[in-house]
């Protein structure tokens, strides 16, 4: 399998996908407030 980092578009698409995943992580962390900033 080709390394997506070898192409600039592969890098950008991977970055956008990671942004989507981390958005849901952030949403979960805010919703399940663990202490600071109720």
């Amino acid at each position: 399998m080709k390394n997506p980092l070898d192409s600039i578009w592969g890098t950008i698409i991977s970055g956008v996908v990671l942004t989507g995943i981390l958005y849901f992580v952030a949403e979960w962390l805010v919703a399940h407030n663990t202490g600071v900033g109720a």
């Binding site: 980092l5 990671l18 949403e27 962390l29 663990t34 109720a38």
Partner: protein
């Protein structure tokens, strides 16, 4: 705290960040393809001699200034009695989105001074290396730089949206 303190810290954080990420994008969007073409034409030497050392100097110190002023900016905030810097890095509640951005920026800073700079020193001849070591260093530095380009996309998303409506709306609903 003076009303000027927070805006001035944010201003320097953004100025240095523009220089850091601007040079990162120059390396990845312009320089990689330019060096490839120049090498094929036998004309890559001036890029390595005159451009890369200067670009890398501003690149790695801009990364340090960006991180330090970002850390200072976070520490000016207190949320429910907890320092913003500590809360962000612990990914706590309202500070979690900006904390994710801060973690990504920190990984990127380590990447700049670790894999990228250490291998660029071999490529540019600042430290002695054989041709095989240089070829390996070139590949590692390239991949490390691409990883930072990848990480810059979510990092800038969380820097831009973390303290704003996208997440704050959720907190107050």
């Amino acid at each position: 705290m003076s009303v000027w303190q927070e805006p001035l810290i944010r201003w320097v954080h953004i100025l240095a960040g523009v220089m850091w990420i601007g040079l990162l994008y120059y390396f990845n969007f312009v320089n990689v393809a330019a060096v490839k073409e120049a090498t094929a034409a036998g004309e890559a030497a001036p890029i390595s001699k005159y451009i890369m050392p200067r670009a890398l100097l501003f690149f790695r110190w801009a990364a340090v200034v960006t991180w330090l002023f970002g850390a200072w900016l976070l520490s000016t905030v207190t949320v429910n009695g907890t320092n913003g810097f500590v809360g962000a890095f612990l990914l706590r509640g309202a500070l979690a989105p900006i904390g994710i951005g801060a973690w990504l920026g920190t990984i990127m800073l380590i990447n700049v001074w670790g894999p990228i700079w250490r291998n660029q020193q071999k490529i540019l001849g600042f430290v002695p290396a054989t041709d095989a070591e240089k070829a390996k260093a070139r590949r590692i530095a390239f991949l490390a730089s691409r990883v930072n380009t990848l990480l810059s996309i979510p990092m800038l998303f969380f820097m831009a949206t973390g303290p704003h409506a996208l997440f704050v709306e959720q907190i107050f609903h």
